[in-house]
Symmetry: D2
């Protein structure tokens, strides 16, 4: 089991009138983390389709602590919660060394953009994802 950590850059304007990072912007951070993991690492490892044919089907996020802008950014720790026939689940913690600001999960559907319908997770995608698989405890 391995987790991938993305140091997500923050922007001063991510903060809203309450002086905290707006709750919506956390989802942008998760998007950047997915882009980093799936587009960049996937491309390096051959699972190029991950960057081209994946749709977001579902998000859930729980906010734990308020977050303020810091020039060093914030860490997004990521792993895979499940791999199914035509979808997989990413799980995340938005955190620094000592504090978890939010935890979240996304269901991502592997999609055939040309045909306009879901497709099966390919073997190379599965080999890439399984390294980060950390099944949710029952």
């Amino acid at each position: 089991m391995t987790r991938h950590t993305f140091r997500c850059p923050m922007r001063w304007s991510d903060m809203d009138a309450y002086g905290h990072v707006n709750n919506v912007v956390f989802l942008t951070y998760l998007e950047e983390a997915r882009v980093d993991m799936l587009f960049r690492m996937g491309a390096e490892l051959g699972a190029k389709a991950l960057s081209e044919g994946v749709l977001v089907a579902r998000h859930q996020i729980s906010y734990r602590q308020p977050l303020v802008f810091h020039s060093r950014g914030v860490d997004i720790e990521m792993w895979v919660g499940a791999i199914k026939g035509a979808s997989f689940e990413m799980r995340y913690e938005v955190r620094d060394e000592s504090t978890v600001f939010a935890d979240a999960a996304s269901v991502l559907v592997t999609f055939d953009l040309e045909a306009g319908r879901p497709r099966r997770v390919s073997d190379e995608e599965r080999r890439f994802l399984v390294k980060y698989l950390e099944p949710v405890q029952s």
Copy 2:
């Protein structure tokens, strides 16, 4: 049982490089709908605290159909899923007349900003929220 519908203005720049409204922007639409319902209507009806002392604790959203920019905007239909001691749940559909683009739910915690801790849902807040209460079917 009553639902509140907010006609949410869209921005052309809400679309991303796929030519669809970015999945994160849906959460901004929900935020605008809450601002409309809780800040404006709540202020009119006396539940002013709703606009001042509520924090987002949790979101979940499921994407059903891709959405593109339209100058007439998109409807956010809203109701209350539950009212508890120090929190309540808002439920939403992002839709037009014929299509549901997403459905979502948020847990909102009533918060005493000065004391820095959760507080009980007040009687006037409860009277306002209960009009929109549509308990989730078990």
Copy 3:
């Protein structure tokens, strides 16, 4: 001489940690006003190309007064400052009845997206734009 006024919807999250609409967001308001004027009105009037082949070449904006979120939005008053061979200038005031929050100007280049180069302002585009022409005083 005619000016076009677009009532631009505001979003609560347009405000930054200073509690004012962030200076960058004013440019988003101008973009929405251009979309409204050029895409929608242009399409109605036959100058369809305006919505498809125009690039932003330059912006300038001067901030006059701080602006805060209001659910009624803010007005963008627009007119055309100049029409040249392959470009034109839009001018704007961001305002309500009594206060000008910012004034701005953009140079827009008519562009042949397929050929990848500027193209001449067409006759139908010129007929549409000239109605809003209010040349800058020397």
Copy 4:
């Protein structure tokens, strides 16, 4: 004469439906560059007021080449174009090694936030800014 270069992180969602970084987002990049230079470096060097009492009075930006998302970000090269009694001008190039995507200038007013009016550029602010001063050629 010294220029400061800020490697500005990009976000995939900075691109709009044309598949290019939206023209408005360039202004966000300039904001992040100012935050980096003025807040962080200013704080280190003692010109703390720069991070607390500066308002944007004016922007101008010219777009040279379309820009697409890249995980390495984009460079913002910055210098000071002028220092006046109660304002100064920042100048910028948005660029990589070989291409200038945009050049821009901002007028920033030193402001006494408590008194609600402009104030003189302090001696320590002037000493900090003058190191980056590269007066515009006449």
